[in-house]
């Protein structure tokens, strides 16, 4: 039986092949000829980023809206903002937070006000063509902590009547000037 096995092994793998099987030598592979790929679109720029640039040109040609929501220099939670729509109606409110879209026109500002002693909130889509202008009217002397001020709702930090506050501030400044 043993003899048979060895015989068959010898038949399957003659010594020459066994040697070649274990000690591999480098052989140059045949090179493939293929057609040239098409030139890259958008100079290889990401499709999302390219489209965002195009949309910014259309919806924010002056770059004012992008500046407003800039994380370092733009509007901050705690600022008081005046929003003007295309039909000249206005909304005042204190900013609770800015929700920024990445390569996206979905960026919006959440503002809160107290109207007839009732807390009211609106989300302002910054790049919406219906919104004509967003203006920072007032900045607090000291900001509360966190970038999102959702915790101020119904606490001692809550937003008061913004319009009344602005009026009061204006009168005070007028009185100072008069003195």
């Amino acid at each position: 039986m043993l003899g048979l096995l060895t015989k068959s092994k010898q038949l399957l793998f003659p010594t020459g092949i066994m040697h070649g099987f274990f000690a591999r030598s480098l052989v140059q592979a045949p090179t493939l000829t293929i057609y040239k790929p098409l030139p890259k679109k958008r100079n290889g720029m990401s499709a999302t980023k390219y489209l965002h640039q195009q949309l910014l040109k259309k919806f924010d040609p002056l770059g004012k809206r992008s500046q407003l929501v800039d994380p370092h220099t733009g509007v901050r939670a705690g600022d008081v903002v005046k929003v003007t729509y295309n039909d000249r109606s206005t909304v005042h409110g204190r900013v609770l937070g800015v929700k920024r879209g990445k390569d996206n026109l979905g960026t919006n500002i959440l503002i809160r006000n107290r109207i007839t002693k009732l807390g009211c909130e609106v989300r302002i889509p910054v790049f919406n063509p219906k919104v004509a202008n967003i203006e920072i009217v007032d900045k607090p002397e000291t900001y509360l902590s966190r970038s999102k001020h959702f915790y101020v709702r119904n606490t001692k930090h809550d937003v008061g009547d913004v319009e009344a506050m602005l009026k009061k501030k204006l009168e005070e400044s007028k009185a100072k000037k008069a003195n």
């Binding site: 493939l32 040239k36 098409l38 499709a47 489209l51 949309l55 919806f59 390569d103 063509p129």
Partner: protein
């Protein structure tokens, strides 16, 4: 098939003839009857008939890659959710004709891939005169008129702004999901003595009769990872040069997955039978 109607009619004894006379019985031999071949009828479940019934589009679609979802503003100032589909190097690789293959279709490929391409794909691309593709797919077309010459690049502006399209892709796999997530069952009570089985299915069906759970019962199992078609999506923007197609709403699958985009089948699809029927009117 034997034409039996060519046999002589059997003589019928009429009531008027009173006298009965016996004669030699005439039974024609089966070999004496001439036979002829009639054309075999086209069966309804044949390929030809099935193709006629199939609701198909006049032209192929496009291959694309799903990218991010964005906010889209209309002229009126409405805010919509939209999906970006990138159309990158989508080229025609081959055509299939009804004469040769039994049905008509266009083979498309997308995304140039120079390394590690399967030999079969490489040879198809070579014969079309285009560089090897990462993803290839087939679009069935109604007639040979819808075929496009191999080597032609199809761009995103193939679709018009405002038209409706279908987007087909593999949905996100959710793994082994329970009955509440998979089929939207309500589950059992949170309290009132229910223990351990708050998210289970409840009854599996009738009792002793039939005495078994009927086939097709909705149960827990693998969810997602299947071919899904989002139908009748509006095209918001189509930029051929930049290769960007913006579609209203959501499309199946994760970001970066390959999708098949075509004209909306329910809006623009027609069967050959329907066209014939309309022409007859």
């Amino acid at each position: 098939m034997f034409a039996l109607w060519s046999l002589p009619l059997p003589r019928v004894a009429t009531s008027s003839s009173k006298s009965f006379s016996r004669s030699v019985a005439r039974i024609p031999s089966i070999h004496s009857v001439t036979s002829m071949r009639t054309p075999s009828p086209i069966l309804n479940h044949s390929v030809v008939k099935a193709n006629e019934r199939k609701q198909l589009l006049g032209r192929p679609g496009l291959l694309g890659i799903k990218r991010d979802m964005i906010s889209w503003y209309t002229e009126k100032g409405e805010q919509l959710a939209a999906t970006i589909i990138e159309i990158d190097a989508c080229e025609v690789l081959a055509n299939k004709t009804s004469e040769e293959h039994g049905y008509t279709s266009v083979l498309l490929g997308q995304l140039d891939k120079t390394k590690n391409v399967v030999p079969t794909v490489r040879s198809i691309c070579k014969s079309a005169g285009v560089s090897p593709k990462a993803n290839i797919a087939e679009f069935r077309v109604r007639t040979d008129e819808g075929l496009i010459q191999p080597g032609v690049e199809l761009t995103a502006d193939y679709f018009a702004v405002g038209q409706l399209i279908d987007v087909q892709a593999t949905s996100k796999g959710k793994g082994f999901a329970g009955v509440m997530k998979r089929h939207g069952y309500s589950g059992l009570n949170a309290s009132h003595g229910v223990s351990v089985s708050h998210r289970s299915a409840g009854s599996m069906g009738p009792s002793q009769d039939p005495g078994r759970v009927l086939p097709g019962k909705k149960m827990a199992g693998r969810m997602g990872g299947t071919k899904v078609t989002a139908q009748n999506l509006e095209v918001l923007s189509a930029d051929g040069e930049a290769g960007i197609l913006v579609v209203k709403g959501q499309i199946p699958g994760p970001k970066g997955s390959y999708v098949k985009v075509s004209d909306a089948k329910k809006e623009y699809g027609k069967s050959l039978l329907r066209i014939k029927h309309d022409a007859c009117r």
